[in-house]
């Protein structure tokens, strides 16, 4: 099949100086085709690369009073919002939380599996709670064994154990990182901006909750794949407690109230004529 390249023929040369380039252009017009065997598949792959990965915003950070965990609640299937009320902070057990980013089914299943098979069994077998280090390591090992098979999990395990507050980032590539501050998802760049600039180790619980809430709000404002309700949880020495759940649309008007402006000329009703 001969490609119709009439649209590529240019009437005028692009640059006067670089004759070599111009000659090549006017002489043989052609699409730049990638040298692959599967041209259609390559196109699809290219689109997949640009698609926002893990449409969500979750964050967690350690501070003086424990761990603060926050997330949005939007689930998207391509461009369709499949749900605005997804629980992205999963209660693994009364003192450990996991966040959900990536494939919803993957996160739901593996967190539940972690809570039942790993954490509860460990407690029963060893007569003591499992540490955050241990739980995150076991989850990371499980996900590593499925590496390359298409699981999509970007999770943070947050909890309080004998060594104090703990926070780990675990993903489906097999990565596991210990750290004081993480944000995961397509909205994470926006959340990091607010979180990193406002963070101090010695904050009170209310200040930390407000920082987390604001970071999620700003991410939902700028990222189309994040939205719904911003949930904020705190993990302390006695376990986790849900601090707030606010609709991000209402948060917007709370942070940026509409100020009534002076009216220059009011519109009046015109009697029908």
């Amino acid at each position: 099949m001969k490609l119709d390249t009439t649209g590529l023929e240019s009437a005028l040369p692009l640059f006067g100086a670089n004759c070599q380039m111009v000659d090549g252009f006017t002489a043989a017009p052609a699409f730049d085709l990638p040298t692959t065997l599967d041209f259609d598949g390559f196109q699809k792959e290219a689109i997949q690369m640009v698609k926002p990965a893990k449409g969500t915003t979750t964050l967690a950070f350690i501070f003086k009073e424990g761990v603060m965990v926050a997330a949005d609640s939007r689930a998207s299937m391509g461009g369709y919002i499949s749900s605005q009320s997804v629980k992205k902070i999963i209660e693994i057990n009364p003192y450990m939380l996991g966040t959900m980013a990536g494939g919803a089914a993957d996160c739901q299943f593996w967190h539940r599996n972690l809570g039942i098979k790993v954490c509860r069994l460990h407690e029963l077998a060893n007569k003591r709670r499992i540490s955050v280090t241990g739980a995150s390591k076991l989850l990371a090992n499980i996900l590593y064994s499925y590496r390359g098979m298409g699981l999509s999990v970007g999770t943070m395990i947050a909890g309080w154990d004998e060594t104090g507050p703990g926070l780990y980032y675990v993903d489906s590539e097999g990565g596991r990182l210990k750290g004081p501050r993480f944000s995961v998802g397509s909205g994470s760049p926006y959340a990091y901006g607010v979180l990193d600039s406002g963070y101090r180790y010695d904050m009170s619980i209310e200040e930390a909750a407000e920082l987390a809430r604001r970071a999620i709000y700003h991410a939902t404002f700028r990222d189309g794949a994040s939205g719904g309700v911003a949930s904020v949880y705190h993990v302390g020495p006695n376990g986790w407690k849900k601090l707030s759940g606010d609709d991000v649309g209402e948060l917007h008007y709370k942070y940026y109230p509409v100020t009534p402006s002076t009216v220059e000329q009011e519109m009046v009703e015109v009697s029908g004529a």
Partner: protein, 219 residues
């Protein structure tokens, strides 16, 4: 060369609405493949337990296999526990069943409807690999993108994630909910080629199961 695909999409839409003491589950009865209609009276609704009904759209062969598996698991549960499975329990079972085929999924988009342990209506909505959520209403299938915005407009209630918690009950009566469902499908039939022919509505409440049919456009 077109590679063999193990899947096919037989089209159709399913809807479920949960009320204070009832649950309405409905789906159209058209089964199609591509632009062809295979049959006009194929039911997508299946009763799994006394208080639990499954509606699935997507690939009907996978739907059939899934129904058989869940029915068998329910029978085992009844033998072991001497009682019927509750809707929340069946909800979790369906989620796990779907996830066990994570690497060769059931191509079904399911909605599970029924009554919970307190007798209140409950609806669970699923994706193809088992992620699920309890909601007040849901639509799945080829007409879902047309039906969901309409249900959001009529039924949307404060999110269960809000704290302090706000009351989130569908204020509709049973007959109002049935009328709403009929409206949904009449509209979806207008604009979705895979939805039409006949509408099957199943209502589950304390008095039992009630089934009715309504003709839809056959074009």
């Amino acid at each position: 060369m077109s590679r063999f695909s193990p899947y096919d999409n037989n089209g159709g839409s399913c809807v479920a609405i949960a009320g204070a003491d009832y649950c309405v589950i409905a789906s159209d009865t058209r089964m199609s493949t591509g632009y062809n209609i295979l049959t006009r009276d194929h039911s997508k609704i299946y009763k799994l337990a006394d208080k639990c009904i499954l509606a699935s759209s997507g690939f009907q062969a996978d739907m059939k296999a899934l129904q058989k598996l869940l029915a068998a698991r329910h029978l085992i549960y009844q033998h072991q526990h001497n009682k019927q499975m509750s809707c929340p329990a069946m909800g979790q079972l369906l989620s796990n069943t779907l996830y066990y085929k994570r690497f060769f999924p059931y191509y079904t988009f399911n909605v599970l409807g029924g009554l919970d342990n307190e007798g209140k209506g409950c609806v669970y909505t699923y994706d193809a690999v088992g992620s699920y959520e309890r909601v007040g209403y849901s639509a799945q299938g080829s007409g879902s993108v047309l039906i969901m915005p309409f249900l959001d407009n009529q039924l949307k209630s404060p999110s269960p994630l809000l704290l302090p918690a706000q009351d989130a009950v569908t204020p509709l009566s049973q007959s109002e909910a049935i009328d709403l469902v009929k409206t949904c499908f009449a509209s979806a039939t207008e604009r979705d080629i895979h939805t039409g022919d006949n509408l099957e509505i199943v209502v589950l409440n304390a008095g039992g199961v009630h089934r009715e049919f309504m003709p839809l456009r056959r074009d």
